[in-house]
């Protein structure tokens, strides 16, 4: 239809429903669970403003204002129609009376931007200028007039708390299948960590643990120590068979009860090694129409993998083997495996959902994988491997924005940041030796500059870019607090869920990082040079930290974090380089009555390299005055730092842009 009549390009028309008679007493909360306004200058307060009657004149003015805002241009702009003008308002829109004034104001706001050596922030409707507030004030009238009794959540201010999406429909029973020492518990734990990171409610129900805890109670009640040596696991021991059967059933029942109540994924960590046993599980779940069943078989025929698993089991102080020598324990454990092996039936049943993994990732068979979550689980398992490796995390060196206390941006490194970039290769080399290593950076200058001197293969990921602070990009926390005190507080109340307007929340970042995690699992030694929020999310994945703690994880500047995946969890080491930097960590503000001074209480093995710290790290208090703190602690002030950097740049001392690899 080429001959479609061109639509008129009118000014914003008056909303048809001007009269308002909504009840002003109880504001209705939107029905959707996904969004709720959190701050008082958001929807709630809009509703509390008596909405009736809106004078036509007020509305008209608002529309006028809006058109001015829309067609606002910088004074330098040409006369070519802007997209806004062509899309929404008449060509004459930009010449409306009053437009010049606003345009001038914006121009001032733009030129008033502090001159930095980095690419400028994005001032348009940023929260620094008064434009955003002007917009919100203007559109408030529309929000009051054009909505029905129940309204979609509206926007104003610099962000909102966004609730977790509804995962209540996902209910999966994952039943592990495999002989002892085949890495079932390893896979279960890994899967639990991954899915919990994605905010699913996951629990592992370990039949072995249930058995042991029962035995313990029994012993405490003076009924003697239960015999859980290999004879108990023999298939010819009828009494024990019955007891084991009962245990499995009990474990499954508590799993089902938990799933129905609150869970998303219940992992049944047991051998489930016979057709008969699996049939019973299927039979039981056929009565639960809302629960899906997925079997995961871990099959190993690589003696090395099995031996390693047995050694781990015996060493780990398994209570079953308390008071036994290691050789004795190993012998008994191998007997137990033999007992299972004699009756083991690998999954061949047709028509069931399963995922069969040979030697942790060597070969994978998938059958009837249904639903999104199941396929995610299967793909995740496909990417795992057992090769020993480490993951190194480092923030970029101190950036100019760090020094200035600003968030976001794409600034260059500060002189101290460059010192870190120069020191990093030796530190990494010390650690990795001749091993292979790949370096991942974000697309932002500060991470690329930090990695520029590393003699390794590099990859640049857009998904590793820092959390987008939306309208607050380029502001300092002080500025935000001053201009939007309520928003500032509400972010502290629920930092994980707080989404900056036009930007992201920590949850959004987790979602965006999921492919990175997948790729990380597949890789071997990796060094990620990232940003505070990004590394918090990645760190939380490896160390299984809950969402509430995630935004407060301490990831200092100029510190290399080494994470080594182990059988059950990860081992962590931190190497702090003695190069001073500002402290960008902002702990959760303490509320009266809130317990615990520091949410992140995990023990860390911090290893300082270098004998003495030459300069005390500068502690920057975001609520206090920067210059005061910095003046005492360091010889370099902001201006000096900038000057130094500029000089260094001019004299060609530094390699400011990345892409050029520096051969050492």
């Amino acid at each position: 239809m080429t001959g479609m009549p061109p639509p008129p390009a009118p000014m914003t028309s008056l909303p048809r429903s001007q009269s308002q008679s909504r009840g002003s007493k109880t504001p209705k909360t939107p029905r959707s669970p996904n969004l709720r306004p959190s701050s008082s200058n958001s929807l709630m307060s809009d509703l509390n403003v008596p909405p009736i009657p809106v004078e036509p004149q007020v509305l008209e003015n608002a529309i006028k204002n809006l058109d001015v805002l829309r067609s606002t241009k910088t004074p330098s702009s040409t006369t070519a129609p802007s997209p806004a003008a062509s899309g929404a308002s008449s060509p004459s829109g930009s010449h409306m009376p009053g437009a010049d004034k606003v345009a001038a104001a914006i121009g001032a706001a733009l030129s008033g931007e502090p001159k930095t050596i980095s690419a400028p922030g994005t001032p348009h409707f940023g929260a620094q200028s008064d434009l955003l507030k002007a917009l919100d004030d203007t559109t408030k009238v529309f929000r009051q007039t054009s909505m029905a009794p129940t309204r979609a959540p509206s926007v104003s201010g610099i962000g909102t708390v966004v609730e977790k999406p509804d995962y209540s429909e996902a209910k999966i029973v994952v039943a592990m299948v495999g002989l002892p020492a085949r890495g079932k518990s390893y896979l279960s734990n890994k899967l639990m960590r991954y899915l919990r990171w994605l905010e699913y409610n996951v629990e592992v129900f370990n039949v072995g643990q249930l058995r042991r805890s029962k035995a313990r109670t029994q012993q405490q009640q003076g009924q003697g120590k239960a015999d859980h040596s290999a004879t108990w696991f023999s298939h010819s021991n009828a009494e024990a068979n019955l007891a084991r059967e009962k245990l499995a059933e009990e474990s499954l029942e508590s799993l089902i009860a938990w799933l129905k109540k609150e869970g998303n994924v219940g992992i049944m960590d047991a051998t489930n090694s016979t057709f008969d046993r699996r049939d019973k599980i299927r039979e039981r779940l056929s009565h639960e129409p809302n629960l899906q069943l997925l079997f995961i078989e871990s099959f190993c025929n690589d003696p090395a993998v099995i031996a390693a698993n047995i050694a781990l089991k015996v060493q780990s102080g398994d209570p079953d083997y308390a008071g036994m020598s290691r050789e004795e324990a190993e012998r008994d454990f191998r007997k137990r495996i033999d007992a299972y092996e004699s009756v083991y039936q690998t999954i061949t049943e047709p028509g069931i959902s399963f995922c069969r993994i040979l030697n942790v990732g060597q070969q994978v068979t998938m059958n009837r994988i249904q639903g999104y979550l199941q396929s995610r689980v299967a793909f995740y398992l496909m990417n795992l491997h057992l090769k020993p490796r480490s993951i190194y995390l480092s923030r970029h060196g101190e950036s100019m924005y760090n020094v200035e206390g600003k968030i976001g941006g794409d600034s260059d490194l500060s002189p101290r940041g460059w010192e870190y970039a120069k020191a990093l290769p030796a530190l990494v080399k010390d650690n990795i030796g001749d091993g292979p290593l790949e370096v991942w950076t974000s697309t932002l200058q500060r991470t690329q500059q930090t990695g520029s001197l590393l003699p390794f293969e590099k990859k640049t990921w857009k998904s590793l870019d820092e959390l987008d602070a939306g309208v607050c990009d380029g502001m300092t926390y002080e500025e935000i607090e001053e201009k939007y005190p309520e928003d500032y507080e509400s972010r502290d109340e629920d930092k994980f869920n707080y989404r900056y307007r036009g930007g992201e929340s920590y949850r959004d970042v987790v979602v965006r990082l999921e492919p990175v995690i997948m790729e990380l699992e597949r890789q071997e030694n990796i060094l990620i040079i990232g940003h505070q929020a990004i590394l918090r999310c990645l760190y939380a994945y490896f160390l299984a930290l809950p969402q509430e703690e995630l935004p407060y994880i301490v990831i200092p500047l100029h510190t290399l974090i080494k994470i080594t995946p182990m059988a059950y969890g990860c081992h962590e080491e931190r190497y702090h380089l003695p190069i001073a930097a500002v402290d960008t960590h902002r702990p959760k503000p303490q509320k009266a009555g809130a317990g615990g001074s520091h949410p992140h209480s995990r023990k860390q093995s911090v290893i300082d390299v270098g004998e003495t710290v030459s300069r005390a790290p500068v502690s920057r208090d975001y609520f206090g005055d920067l210059s005061k703190v910095m003046g005492d602690a360091t010889s370099v002030g902001v201006e000096q730092a900038t000057e130094q950097l500029m000089r260094a740049k001019e004299s060609g001392e530094l390699t400011p842009k990345v892409g050029k690899r520096v051969v050492q």
């Binding site: 239809m1 639509p7 429903s17 959707s32 997209p83 529309f142 070969q363 990859k459 640049t460």
Partner: protein, 568 residues
């Protein structure tokens, strides 16, 4: 232009080297379907991929089935030496072409679409390419359900040039005999042969052996997610917002945008009805209507556009990764302003609108990579799907579904007010566009509405954005009337619900109409936003208990107006 997930210094993509995917399977097992789907996916990722089909090449060289030597497909008794030589020659020529694609044309992945049902032939192929550094994977398609096979023959093979001029039944019988013939000599792929992916009954079961490497495991995950159940995917843009071209302002819908949202819902309902009627008329057996799932981005204007759906109980999911392309430092600038302030960047952008990334912005390439999880979920979903999104996101997703090359992505034109319908078909998709809204926010005087990522600045730049870019705006069929009709119908139903409820209330509440009356203007005039009579009545109750009891004269006058609207 390639679209790797990350950029490497060496410039090699994916670190995957060259990959040859050799299909294995009896005829009519959906090998071509899998090949084409995989090709579409890999191309969308930016990997230079091509399907080489032995059947197509044979037809090109020899012509249809009637001009092929009689013993060409024969397996039971030995073929004549001349035929064997011919077969070898055709195969060798095709494999030369594959090698040429790898070495001369810079291709990275080839999907070699042939039966390859013989261990010896596969070994030869593996040796030939493996010894030259190509990673060879077998992709076997197995199907043990005869109805699937017959359906496949009827839907795909009968239209093949091999059977031009044959009767349908005769062709089916001939094809079955061809299959039976080959079954006798068919060897399934075993673990000893090398890395393989086996797909049973189009995705029901997947078996993977020794698959390593990024691209390879991506392929597996992709194959795990595709299905062939019939469904429809709709795309529409969000309504007009108060501040149209600011990424950061994330503003609410304008009044026109709210009207648009209502109309969109009516249009989708009307279109789904019409489609069902069409299929019924075509003699299809229709079961329950496939439920509709709605995805929006987490942007206010997109979610608001879905609000009428939310309100009527449809399942609406917000996906933060579906936000529009990030304009970076160009946010809020017009093309002219961007050109003036960032002249160098602008030049580079014009040179490659797909891959150029302005400072802190996303390129279309970045956007594609970001959207990848969406693609998988899109493939997996079995319900009908409506995606209410932003121009840039819809461009990428449509480009994937339609199979456009990356450099055409920024050129896909889709105006606000068009509903694009995508129906997966055997070797691709069918797309149709419907126009349902001509109101405010549709576009400029020429109907163009392309402000995301400055695509309008690149049009008319000759080879940069070829005119072959898909333009849904031009192809849109008008269904505005039906949509309006549907909207009217819904309004009537709603009014009826309100009326009944009110009457009930009046008869119970002692007959004083003034009590509930004050809410009426809001209900009636605001019902663009309200689809749910129940909700309205509850609101009404709030008022009864509140300040409006014993209404004033002003309210009385409102009552009169409201009632008269209700009488209509």
């Amino acid at each position: 232009m390639a679209a790797p997930l990350y950029v490497t210094q060496s410039g090699r993509l994916w670190h995957a080297g060259l990959i040859l995917i050799v299909t294995v399977g009896l005829p009519a097992r959906g090998k071509t379907h899998l090949s084409r789907a995989l090709e579409r996916y890999l191309r969308w990722l930016g990997v230079k991929t091509r399907v080489y089909s032995l059947g197509d090449y044979r037809r090109k060289v020899l012509g249809g089935a009637k001009s092929v030597p009689a013993d060409y497909f024969q397996t039971k008794s030995p073929r004549s030496e001349a035929t064997n030589a011919l077969r070898r020659k055709i195969k060798a020529e095709l494999e030369d072409q594959i090698w040429d694609f790898f070495t001369v044309q810079g291709g990275q992945v080839v999907i070699y679409d042939a039966n390859n049902g013989n261990v010896k032939a596969r070994r030869e192929c593996l040796d030939k390419f493996g010894s030259r550094g190509v990673h060879v994977i077998f992709l076997e398609s197995i199907c043990d359900k005869e109805d699937i096979i017959t359906a496949n023959i009827r839907s795909v093979k009968l239209s093949s040039p091999d059977y031009a001029g044959w009767s349908a039944d005769k062709a089916v019988a001939d094809y079955w005999s061809r299959i039976r013939d080959q079954e006798g000599v068919y060897d399934t792929v075993t673990a000893e042969e090398g890395p393989f992916i086996k797909v049973m009954n189009v995705g029901e079961r997947i078996e993977v052996n020794r698959i390593e490497g990024y691209l390879q495991s991506r392929c597996c995950f992709f194959l795990m997610n595709i299905h062939t159940k019939p469904r429809t995917i709709y795309f529409a843009r969000s309504g007009q917002s108060l501040i149209e071209h600011s990424y950061k302002a994330d503003s609410d819908l304008s009044p026109a945008g709210w009207e648009y949202a209502e109309r969109l819902k009516a249009a989708v309902i009307a279109r789904r009805k019409a489609l069902r009627e069409d299929r019924k008329a075509a003699g299809e057996q229709l079961g329950e209507e496939n439920p509709l799932l709605i995805w929006t981005s987490a942007r206010r204007r997109a979610y608001h556009t879905a609000w009428p759906f939310v309100h009527s109980g449809y399942k609406v999911e917000q996906k933060p990764i579906m936000s529009e392309i990030n304009p970076g430092v160009w946010d809020g600038l017009s093309s002219a302003e961007a050109m003036e302030r960032y002249p160098d960047e602008w030049e580079r952008f014009l040179a490659d609108p797909y891959a150029h990334r302005a400072p802190r912005a996303e390129s279309y390439h970045d956007l594609s990579v970001r959207l990848e999880p969406c693609i998988f979920e899109l493939e997996r979903v079995q319900q009908d799907l409506l995606i209410i999104g932003h121009a840039s996101v819809i461009r990428c997703l449509l480009a994937y579904l339609v199979g456009l090359p990356p450099n055409e992505v920024p050129a896909v034109e889709m105006a606000r007010g068009d509903l694009v319908e995508v129906t997966p078909a055997s070797y691709g998709v069918m797309t149709r566009a419907f126009h349902f809204w001509s109101g405010e926010g549709r576009g400029d005087a020429s109907g163009r509405n392309l402000y995301e990522n400055f695509a309008e600045g690149t049009t008319g730049k000759g080879t940069v954005l070829p005119d072959s870019g898909v333009n849904f705006t031009q192809d849109a069929q008008n269904m505005e009337a039906q949509a309006v009709e549907e909207e009217e119908k819904e309004k009537e139903i709603k009014a009826e619900i309100v009326k009944t409820a009110l009457q009930k209330r009046l008869s119970i509440g002692g007959g004083d109409g003034s009590r509930s009356a004050p809410t009426l203007p809001g209900v009636i005039e605001g019902d663009r936003e309200s689809d749910d009579g129940e909700e309205v009545i509850r609101e009404d109750e709030d008022d009864i208990e509140g300040e409006t009891i014993g209404g004033s004269t002003a309210e009385d006058s409102k009552r009169g107006r409201a009632m008269s609207i209700l009488e209509i």
